[in-house]
């Protein structure tokens, strides 16, 4: 199994339903985020404008700088392609936080261990088969699935829509795919 997610910017309305669902599901301390959506814009020439709705969260890279730099194997990729952290092995060197080119990790002020999105691996995903953010999105802008399974909804979606990944030049091969706005350009 290889879990992946699509964020369809065309459908996203920046409502933060996902952001709040994530907080609630993962007990994120106040002031920190595993996930947020940023409205960026408007761009363009009046009145032909557009907003971008940019998701910030772990991109679930295939080639993971955060795992590579981790001296204790606390950061690891599990059998389903989810990049995760084993708090027991973490020595708090914070190399991973620095290494992540997507700024996806924060340090939990209580435990001093880095934390980030893990597709709600132990909670919502386990119980309902999808992360909490995907479950709440009012416009179905988030699609979750298995890249190894041709019947997974994520498959046909990627076949029918143009998509990009963030910072492709870094070669991290994210498993968070972004369907850009048709209107106007996409700035990532």
């Amino acid at each position: 199994m290889k879990y992946a997610m699509i964020h369809d910017m065309e459908k996203c309305i920046g409502c933060q339903g996902c952001t709040i669902a994530c907080r609630s599901e993962n007990a994120i301390p106040d002031g920190y985020f595993r996930l947020k959506v940023k409205m960026d814009g408007p761009h363009g020439e009046f009145p032909n404008l557009n907003f971008n709705y940019v998701r910030h969260s772990c991109e679930m890279c295939e080639h993971t700088p955060c795992v590579t730099v981790c001296p204790t194997h606390a950061s690891f990729m599990d059998e389903n392609g989810i990049v995760d952290i084993n708090a027991n092995l973490c020595v708090g060197c914070l190399y991973c936080v620095v290494a992540c080119p997507y700024n996806a990790r924060y340090v939990n002020p209580k435990t001093n261990v880095p934390d980030k999105c893990n597709f709600c691996k132990h909670t919502h995903l386990k119980q309902y088969g999808e992360p909490a953010c995907v479950a709440v999105c009012p416009t179905d802008a988030l699609i979750f699935g298995d890249l190894d399974d041709p019947l997974s909804p994520i498959f046909s979606y990627l076949a029918n829509k143009p998509f990009v990944t963030n910072k492709p030049h870094l070669g991290t091969k994210p498993k968070l795919f972004v369907v850009p706005n048709k209107k106007g350009g996409i700035k990532l």
Binding site: I13, Q16, P47
Partner: protein, 681 residues
């Protein structure tokens, strides 16, 4: 689910919420309270209500709530007490369109089939920010299927960003736009003749009333060329009946609200989109659905089990009870809320001495907040049922703590769409502290006042059982799922839908008319029973039978239009103090056009003083290219004045402090646009 729903837990455990009744111990508004028992609170209220009734009559206490299930209990209590003065938030929010729809269709609640629409005109109905999830989903689905969406809005909203075209129309210009559109539909003969013939009356009189409103004559009012409106109208008609003009939601952009919303309702009728895919449709109640089907498909629960009390005979303060009068289209449970505060201050048409409210925050929502505060301070008795010490509750004598939506059970509510259904709210956790739900508060209070016969239930479970007495299984299923729906969707003029319905319920064939449509569904509750393109009652009352264009002058030459809207992460004025939501947005910076900001040397975050004829506010600015040069925009519901809402206190600016307490003709709305001047501070 939206961010607000997702934050329910955060509200549940908020240390700032009320968990016991409290009584004011200091001057009104100075924030000194003591906790008391429910018993003490009830005794105080009962005693005060009795004294006021004796001295000034029951009519001198007004009752108000937000619309919703709580309203049933509050209103019953008010009528039992003997006051005709019951209100909801209508005049500060949706009454414009419901009055317009009532005028044209005889019914204020008509639904929009967003998801099947192929061409939509939208005037600032911000479904992606002032969120109703089903609307947001519907519009998204339509767009995915390739629908064309035109957003006419002075500012670039999230909806505008998803639209095929954003037209930055001049604030208040939409009324003129709609006049021109109706004119074009009629005089270019783009309207659905067969539909107009069969289902409407008053066409000729309507035609006469709009004959001078050519696109050319109107164009100068809304900054869009006459040719463009002709094109848009033709395109809209080309997709008819699968096209619509959205009648909006929280509205009232101008005092000409009623003409604007009626013109929209009429345009839809002219497009013949009623009961078709992608158009408007009437909610199908179980009774109507069963009748059409010719068999018993859906259970018919009782809406309310409370005995119907006669409306107290005294005249209301807002005049909506004058038969066929100017305001007579406003619902009797709705009223013109903002008149309460004038009546308190001016004691006209008679004095209001007491106010009893449930989850209502007029200091944030009624125009001219200073006047509201002054009025609240003048009251002999002010009781508020609330979750927090809100901007309004801070002036109360007693605040009764209500359970939040996660802690309370409610009665079964109808949820009728294309087919009938019900929904029910059930508590997820036991109430925290000594909070109580409305059904219990008013039941207990009624008992103390000796009105138990008006409240014949022991608890909400008993209430529910009485609602669905004849359908034990259906009740059981509904409670298990929280929602139920019966039958299949029906659009009474859509061939495909009719075919499926008739196949499923063969008896229904007998109910088809000669055009093979269920015209029964289009029998309106208007006087004529038809869709009324010309309103005889309004014509007599105030000469507004057809459509009339009166220039809604909203500002002076040297002023900006000040407009406002909702944001996705907050519910009107009452979620700003919820920590998670406050983190997402704690301030409402005022949008100003980048070019204008440059001219005035205003940078992002600079403070300005905004002044209208009613008041002034300090705000920070957000220069953006997404707004007209003559317009300022802010999200509303900010600028809280209650210190008990510590994290929201004094953050951002409050639009209600700038707006004038106007009462617009017919619809009785507070107008949400005003001319303002700004200066850097």
């Amino acid at each position: 689910m939206c961010a607000r729903g997702g934050s329910g837990v955060n509200q549940l455990f908020d240390p700032n919420r009320l968990v016991n009744p409290i009584m004011r111990t200091g001057e009104k508004g100075d924030g000194k309270w003591k906790e008391i028992s429910w018993e003490e609170a009830y005794n105080y209220i009962v005693q005060k209500l009795s004294v006021i009734k004796e001295k000034y009559g029951a009519k001198s206490v007004a009752f108000a709530s937000k619309s919703g299930p709580e309203q049933t209990f509050l209103n019953q209590f008010a009528y039992a007490y003997g006051s005709p003065n019951i209100f909801d938030h209508g005049n500060t929010c949706p009454s414009g369109y419901s009055v317009a729809l009532t005028s044209v269709f005889g019914n204020g609640s008509i639904s929009r089939d967003f998801s099947n629409c192929k061409f939509m005109l939208n005037f600032g109905h911000n479904v992606y920010e002032g969120m109703v999830i089903s609307y947001a989903r519907g519009v998204t689905q339509a767009l995915e299927k390739g629908a064309k969406l035109i957003s006419l809005d002075p500012r670039f909203s999230v909806l505008s960003s998803k639209a095929s075209e954003w037209i930055p129309i001049r604030p208040g210009g939409d009324t003129a736009f709609m006049m021109a559109m109706v004119h074009t539909l009629i005089f270019e003969e783009l309207y659905d003749k067969k539909f107009v013939e069969k289902y409407t009356i008053g066409f000729e009189k309507l035609k006469e009333s709009v004959k001078n409103y050519t696109p050319e004559a109107m164009a100068k009012e809304y900054d869009i060329s006459a040719e463009r409106i002709r094109e848009l109208t033709r395109e809209c008609a080309k997709y008819a009946p699968h096209s619509m003009v959205d009648f909006g939601h929280r509205a009232t952009f101008s005092p000409e609200e009623i003409e604007f919303r009626r013109a929209i309702a009429i345009a839809n009728a002219l497009l013949g989109n009623i009961e078709t895919k992608g158009g408007l449709y009437f909610p199908k109640s179980p009774a109507l659905y069963n009748k059409l089907a010719g068999e018993h498909v859906a259970p018919e629960f009782k809406g309310s089990i409370l005995p119907k009390l006669e409306i107290p005979q005294e005249p209301r303060i807002d005049l909506i009870d004058i038969k066929d009068g100017e305001f007579s289209k406003i619902s009797k449970t709705r009223g013109i809320y903002s008149k309460v505060f004038k009546a308190i201050l001016e004691e006209k048409p008679y004095a209001i001495k007491g106010l009893f409210i449930t989850r209502s925050n007029p200091v944030m929502t009624v125009n001219d907040s200073n006047e509201v505060v002054e009025a609240l301070k003048k009251l002999d008795l002010f009781i508020s049922v609330d979750v927090y010490v809100s901007d309004t509750s801070q002036y109360a004598d007693i605040i009764l703590p209500e359970s939040t939506y996660l802690e309370r059970d409610e009665q079964f509510l109808a949820k009728n769409g294309k087919n009938p259904g019900y929904e029910v709210r059930q508590k997820a956790v036991e109430p925290i502290g000594n909070t109580k739900p409305s059904w219990q508060i008013y039941l207990e209070l009624a008992k103390k006042m000796g009105y138990e016969s008006a409240f014949p239930y022991t608890d909400i479970e008993d209430f529910r059982i009485k609602q669905g007495y004849n359908y034990p299984n259906e009740m059981f299923k509904l409670k298990e799922k929280g929602m139920s729906s019966y039958g299949i969707p029906l659009l009474a003029r859509d061939k495909e839908s009719i075919k499926k319905f008739v196949e499923k319920y063969p008896n229904s064939k007998a109910n088809l008319d000669s055009d093979r449509e269920f015209s029964e569904v289009l029998k309106c509750k208007t006087k004529s029973g038809k869709i009324e393109l010309f309103d005889e009652a309004l014509e007599k009352a105030c000469g507004r039978g057809g459509l009339t264009y009166n220039n809604p002058k909203l500002k002076n030459e040297d002023e900006f239009y000040f407009i406002q809207g909702k944001v996705a992460v907050h519910t009107n004025g009452h979620t700003m103090n919820i920590p998670w939501l406050n983190t997402l947005m704690s301030d409402n910076a005022v949008w100003i056009n980048q070019k204008v900001a440059d001219k005035l040397k205003l940078k992002k975050g600079d403070k300005i003083k905004i002044t209208s004829k009613v008041g002034s506010q300090i705000a920070s600015v957000l220069p953006t290219i997404g707004i007209r040069e003559d317009t300022l925009f802010a999200y509303f519901g900010f600028g809280h004045t209650s210190k008990k809402q510590d994290i929201a206190y004094n953050k951002g600016m409050s639009a209600s402090h700038l707006l004038e307490n106007t009462i617009s003709p017919v619809a009785g709305n507070n107008v949400h646009t005003i001319g303002v001047k700004i200066e850097k501070v």
